[in-house]
Every structure is written in structure tokens, then in C-alpha cells.
Symmetry: C2
Subunit: 376 residues, 2 copies
Amino acid sequence: MTPKISSFLNDAQPPTPCMVLDLDVVADNYRCFSAALPDSRIYYAVKANPAPQILELLTQLGSCFDAASVAEIEMVLRAGADAARISYGNTIKKESDVARAHALGVDLFAFDSEPELEKIARQAPGARVFCRILTSGESADWPLSRKFGCEEDMAETLMLKAIELGLDPYGISFHVGSQQRDPGQWDTALGTAGRLFRRLAEKGLQLRMVNLGGGFPTRYMKEIPTAEAYGQEIMESLRRHFGNRLPDTIIEPGRGMVGNAGVIQSEVVLISRKSEADERRWVYLDIGRFGGLAETEGEAIRYPIATPRDGEEVEPVVLAGPTCDSADVMYEKVPYDLPISLTIGDKILIGATGAYTTTYSSVAFNGFEPLAEHYI
Amino acid sequence: MTPKISSFLNDAQPPTPCMVLDLDVVADNYRCFSAALPDSRIYYAVKANPAPQILELLTQLGSCFDAASVAEIEMVLRAGADAARISYGNTIKKESDVARAHALGVDLFAFDSEPELEKIARQAPGARVFCRILTSGESADWPLSRKFGCEEDMAETLMLKAIELGLDPYGISFHVGSQQRDPGQWDTALGTAGRLFRRLAEKGLQLRMVNLGGGFPTRYMKEIPTAEAYGQEIMESLRRHFGNRLPDTIIEPGRGMVGNAGVIQSEVVLISRKSEADERRWVYLDIGRFGGLAETEGEAIRYPIATPRDGEEVEPVVLAGPTCDSADVMYEKVPYDLPISLTIGDKILIGATGAYTTTYSSVAFNGFEPLAEHYI
């Protein structure tokens, strides 16, 4: 937690639960990514946190934007960025949405299938397109399914097809999985991308861009490599697979850009046991899986938690949310060590919650309001 | 799908995705529950779907209400029901919320721990309280954790404590797990409840009420027993465990009251394969796990799906949502058989989606609007 967030919580005493985000940290993260990969263009993954304050700040800093929907494109435009800075990165788009994006001036589209390419050709003629390839998602904390991307051979076929359809076959994209803690994972994907560049060059098509995707982690409980370390490994991989003809590169940090800038303050609603003999206490918070902590599903993302009684003796507890849904349990298999002296009414801080919290929050599950947000 | 929903979709052509709910089906369900368990009071579980149209209808039909939060209590009051008809059924309440509920006239509170009982004693002196006991949740489709309820011995201690604290120790509650397909599951819990009644009677405390909870299933893919069958089994269990001194009983249907009344219409956004040789097609809809189908987590709830091409040859497909989140996949392990002729742009119907969809929907994940709702 930054001093700015600390002062805000002390002075404003906002009702809980709420997420407070320090914009200075976002600016720092932007500069770190720029320094770590100076030749890459940064496309902020808007879905991580689309708050206007973040989009305006990043617009001023010169960022580009990766949008998942027309609504996100409109948010970026409202923040003052030009449509030329926007990539429509979702490979699943309604044809009417491709048309709307094109009408708004967007000229860069993701795809991973022939029907999607045809939609883009019909509704955004001449647009630059990039094909997303499948990756395994190993070493990523948030699970990566086979939902996005196609196999290498299909990518080759589709890039050639793009020419036929009058599109501009710009490059290849991939995603190594969110909260990716192994920088080496980019190497495998870059190997495939390099091979596709050469295969297509042999057929007379010179691709120009590699979209390295997101996946850059934020610091939760475990130590993570620095942005600099990621930058160095990626640069080495690029040289290994592309030699002297380095392509343009794009990165799409979301979690890595805003995750560590935010903190959620939550109140302890209840602490109880199931029986007198029960060794494990249950700690119920006023935020849970349906109020913004969706990424605790499968206990995937483990946020750091600070309490007003840190330093005192701890014991493992189960952490659960406030709704009447029995699936609304954050951490049970691997419990959290929290102070034995923790008391109902204590305010705790859930760290690194600037990404993938506010917009995941349900509309009104159990009648609870969506997560409140403060940008300072 | 009812004729009323069919006409509405034809005439109004609402944008997708949307949920359309036929209020006549809710009224039918209310009458079925009343007939199946004529001596039980029905407390509708508001969290299943808190739409004002549903709450007003059930108020007119004479229903009581199980509320999970002060916001839900206020919704019920706005629908015209008196506070005497409301049970504050969440065992996890902020003390300030107990006070607000009491000020609004609510006199019936759930608890499963001593600290919660103390909150109620301080903020709602003299209120009727019922203690929730732990159950196993076997045979339920939606997982039941150990989140709610306490062991039998603790329940006994706490009911005696309630007297000391000046509260009215009214009864025992339990929940057999949501979408419970085995009526026999009520018997085990009723056995525990009966034993607690006798143990406490020996100590001079005569409990008066058993809250049978919810769990009553709605018809998704599998055949389920009728409300009548549940009613008969529960009545037999009551007689077995309570003899001639039957307690007052409460039931809390949510899913069973509104699930089968609603249908979601969704558009097929993309159909694709990952490679030419891929046998499994992916069908992407404009609704997914973060747009209202949260209960497809772990593929727990399998909704029936109707397409405009039903009757034609089918093959198994993976079903996924429209967001850039790779966890947004509904059915992959056990794929769905859908027509091979299914085409991008087709409108499909996801049945039995009147419960636990609209309010689970995220605020704006990936920029997508929350699920639209129509009550007819």
C-alpha cells in the first residue's frame, strides 16, 4: 500500500468494501514497461480495469489500447486517444461490432478463424489483421484454456487467405497465460511466430508484427521477476528466432500495468467455528467471489492480506465471502495465516487488487452493491 | 418455453443476450409448492431473482420471503409485503445491518455462531432466531461447502444461550444443497433437527419451527421428482422424526420457484476449429460465465439448449462465452450435442434460466452490459 492510499483511507474513511487505486503506480508501471521493452508499443489491456482515470492517464503517457468490445473502444476514445491507437483484440466479435469499430476508425483486428476473418473483410475492408496462435499456458496462475488461438498450419493458411480477402496481413499474436511467472514461456511462442514468418516469407508474404500479448504478472504473494528481466528474456528470444530482421512488437499488459496499484479495503463480518472442537476458524469478509474477487476461483490468485494486528501470533483460517452462496469461499484448501487476535469489525487490506476486480463484480448478487472504486 | 415467451421474442425482437421470464409459471410453481406442503409457510429465496415483478406477484399470492441482505429486505418491502413476512436468512450479517433490519420491522433472524447471536441480541432484542445446522450436500448439483451451519452440539448450546441473551429461540434450519435431486436428503437433516428438539425439550426449551431450506430443483436436462413427491417424502420424514408433535415448517424455494419460468436468448457469435483436423468445433455465444451463466462453473448446472435447427444431425461442441477471459468456457469436459448446421448469427434459447442468472451477471466485464431482463 502506498502512502497516498493510506492517507486516503485514513481521511475519507470510505464505506467497505472498496477498491482504492494509486494512479502514480500505474504511471510508474508504464515507464517500467517502456524501459524494459523500448522497441515495443504498449497496448494496455483495457479489460483489466477500464476506469476513465486510468485510460486518461495512459493516453497522456502515450499508450495504445487493446480493447475487448465496442464499449471498451468507446471508453478509450472518450479518454482522448485516437482510434489509430486501438487494437480490437477479441477474436470473438459480432459482425455488427466489427462494423461499428471500423466506423469509429479502428484499423487493427485480431482473429483466429476463417469465419472471423471473413467478418472483418466484409465490415472493415483493408484493415490490418493479426492471427492469434494457440499456446499451452504453462506456469500461468490463471488457467489458460484452448479457447483462443489456432494451430500453426491454420495460421499460415489464414494469413494467405487474408490477402485474398483484401485485408492487410500484419502479424501474429499469442498469449502465454495470465500472471505468467516464467519469462521463458515467451520463447516457445516466439519460436512458432518466427517459423510462421519464414514459412509465409517463402510464399511471398512478409509479416511485420508480433503481438507478445499480456501475461506479465503483478506481485501477489510470490516474488516475481522484474519487468526488466522479462524484457531481456524476450529480446533474446526475438533475436534467436528472428535474427537481424526484428519485427515490430506489441505488448498488452493489463494485470502487470494496474494490479499492484490497487488495494481493496474490507471489513471482517464474522469469525466463527463449526463446533467447539473445530480447529479451523472461518473468517467472513464483506467482499467475496461475486463482489470482485472472482479470480479466487479454484484459489488461483492468492492476494496478500494485511490486517491491523499483523505481527501478532497467527493461525490458518478459511476465508469466505458474505453471500448466501456456499460456493462463495475464497481460500479453503490452502488456508491463510491470519492473526488469532483478528476481531469482527476489523478492516483488512487485500493487496494487488487493481486489476480484474471492479468489472468482474456482480450487478447485485444477494442484493450487495457492486464494488466501490476510488482513483487517487 | 411458454407460448407467452415465444410471442414476446417474435414480436419484440429484443437485442441479445436477454432473459425473458413468464410470471404465470412462477404463479404455477407457487401453487404447486403450496399444494405439496400445505402446512409449510413458503419463504421465497429472494436472491434467486429479486425482480420487482416477481416480488409483487408473490406478495399478492401470500408468500413470505427469505432475504440475504438489507437491500433485499428493502426490495420486499417495496413490493408491498409487511416486514412480518420476512426472514433475514443470511448467517453472516454486519451488526449495523442487523440493526437496520430490526428498525425496518424484521423479527426473524438466522445464525450459526455465538458472535452472530450476540449481534442479534444487541441490535434486535427479543427477536425470533433459528440456528442453521451443517449438512453434507450429497446429491446436489451446485456444490455445498461447510460455509454455513454448525454441528449439532453447538446448535444445542447456542439455542440455550439465545434464552440467556433475551432472544426467542424459535427453531432449527438446514439446507440440503441447491438443485437437490434426492428428496431423501431431507430425512437425514430432519433426523438431526428432531434430535435437537428432544435434547432441548429435556432442558426445558420447546422449539417450535423447522426451516427446511431450499434446494428444490428446477428441470434442466435431467428428469426431476415433482414437488408433490418432495412434499410426500418430507411429510413422512417429519412424522418419523417428530411423531405427533409436528413443528411449524418453513420452506425457502428459490431456483424451484423461478428457474423454469425464464429463458435466455443468445446469439451465436462464432463457430470455429483450432486446426483443419480438429474434430471438436467451438461455439461462442454472446453470453458466458461472466454475463449471467456463473452457475456453469465446474460445468455444475447444465441448461437445456434449443436451436432453430433442432431435429437436424448433431455433433458435440464446446460452448464458450464472448469475453477475452480463457476461463469463460461453459461446457468443455462434457460437450453439448448441437446441430452441425448451426450457423453464426443463429439465435438459441437457454432454458430454465430464471434463477441465479441476472444478478450474478458482472457489472461490465470486458465492457459487456449486464444481462437484460424482461418480465411478462
